[in-house]
Amino acid sequence: MTDSTLTSLKLRGDAFIAKRRRQLVVAAAVFAAVACLPLGIRDVYLQNVLILTLLYAAVSQSWNILGGYCGQISLGHALYFGIGAYAASVLYVNYDIVPWFGMVVGGLLSAALAVALGFMTFRLKGHYFAIATLVIAEIGLVLVHNWDFVGGALGIQWPFGTDSFWTLQFARDKVPYFYIALGLLVVVWLVTYLIENSRWGFWWRAVKDDPEAAESLGVEVFRSKLAAAAVSAFFTAVGGGFYAAFVSYIDPESVMSFRFSLLFALPAVLGGIGTLWGAPLGAAILIPLTEITRSYLGGSGSGLDLIIYGALIMVVALAKPEGLLSLFTRKSGGKA
């Protein structure tokens, strides 16, 4: 190889590294800006919306790891969310174990379950897989519904306590929740960022595009899927644990219903599937919209809020099928 090609290679490598660095800088700027939001937004309701947005961004990004990067469209992530919520709640309410620990336990449980279920479902392709995940989550929902130890249909009410960072209970103050949710999003984003440029990240995308070709190029397809499922389930469950602490009451329907599985996928899809910023962007648009249409139109009972909400999802999905993120990225061969 000639010297000139070597230098050109180096240059290109550098451009690539520069791009990665630029992504980090952008992320730092965005997250810093978001971190300043509570300074301006004092209204509890709006803070509540912000927290939900961050939470959905984080959970949707977790879904995106399996669904967007690895191409395994899960319609059952409510299961992992529920496990996180229940683990944190049961450990805290029944055993007085701080929810931080419960979140991690829920995450590990979910990751383990995701791997176990993966042995069953990852042989399935396309819709068969999607329906299998849906069905498994529904089974989970029914079981929890009928499991008295975790409160069954009655759910679990978190006790009132004094405000404390450890128990994640703040009576009126939303700001701590905001920063915890932001922290969660930052962590999930960073993990995605790091994996994206690792061998796993590339393997996942190869598995998504063409598993058979990937296999012939040394990609451990099955293990790739398991790994993606585990990471994805872990963070989804952590999000669930946070949600339980945040709402301080959970019941099966309110953390595990099928609707949630869809709502976790929705921001990533609308924002841009398999991208670093798609899920956060999707959540930033979708969640405030959901909350605000319901709050300001839902009270009438006319169904108008649903009409607007449904139409918006439809319009966004159709107008920018590759995701809203494509509005921000230059039209080049590369990805965002």
């Binding site: 290679l9 590339f202 061969g333």
Partner: protein
Amino acid sequence: MTSDILLETRGVTQRFGGLVANSDVSISIKRGEILGLIGPNGAGKSTLFAAISGARVPTSGSILFEGVDITQMPAAERCRLGIARTFQVPRSFDSMSVAENVMIGAFVRNSNATRARAAALEVLDYVGLDGRADATAGQLTPPEKRRLEVARAIATEPKLLLLDEVLTGLTPSEARLGMDLVRKVRARGITVVMVEHVMEIVMQLVDRAIVLNLGKLLAEGSPADIVRNEDVITAYLGDRHRAA
């Protein structure tokens, strides 16, 4: 070097329902050679590639690579051992860029992304696709996709490279460049098996040819012998070659 046989198939048979695509095929591939695998359409060449590369476990028979039985080994593991293949119908990762496609191959030997990228760019340069490194693979024309297939396979740094009709659809001058590339690959110490229907290429490029017909081994020998083989002419080459 243990032996000069790199890979051996023993009685490989592949059935699809009533159809026998490979029937008791036993061949040996010698280290360092360029072996031509030819035969009529549907003779079972691609099927044999699938068995060797691990895409499909044969109905019966066994496959030995460097003396180790790999018949049941998953494709990914074979790739790490040093077997790489291209697909006759190109199967690129269409959402990724050309360079990223090749990186997937390069990850077999480099766990670090930056190094994998450097390796991938080097291979692209080598096969002459460097100009398209940042294009999305989905945008490539069929001949470009075939070249990408080759690049990806080379990036896995194989010992054995299975090329399934990668030089079709080229003008003669382009085909010449392609043949140079295959020779360069072999010069790196990579054993090459290629399926090709264009006899002008096969004749000039391969050291040895194996002919399959109706799933069975029909003939084996130097290219010059093969084209004179009456059975091969009847089954495969046709009258024009008899005249020639």
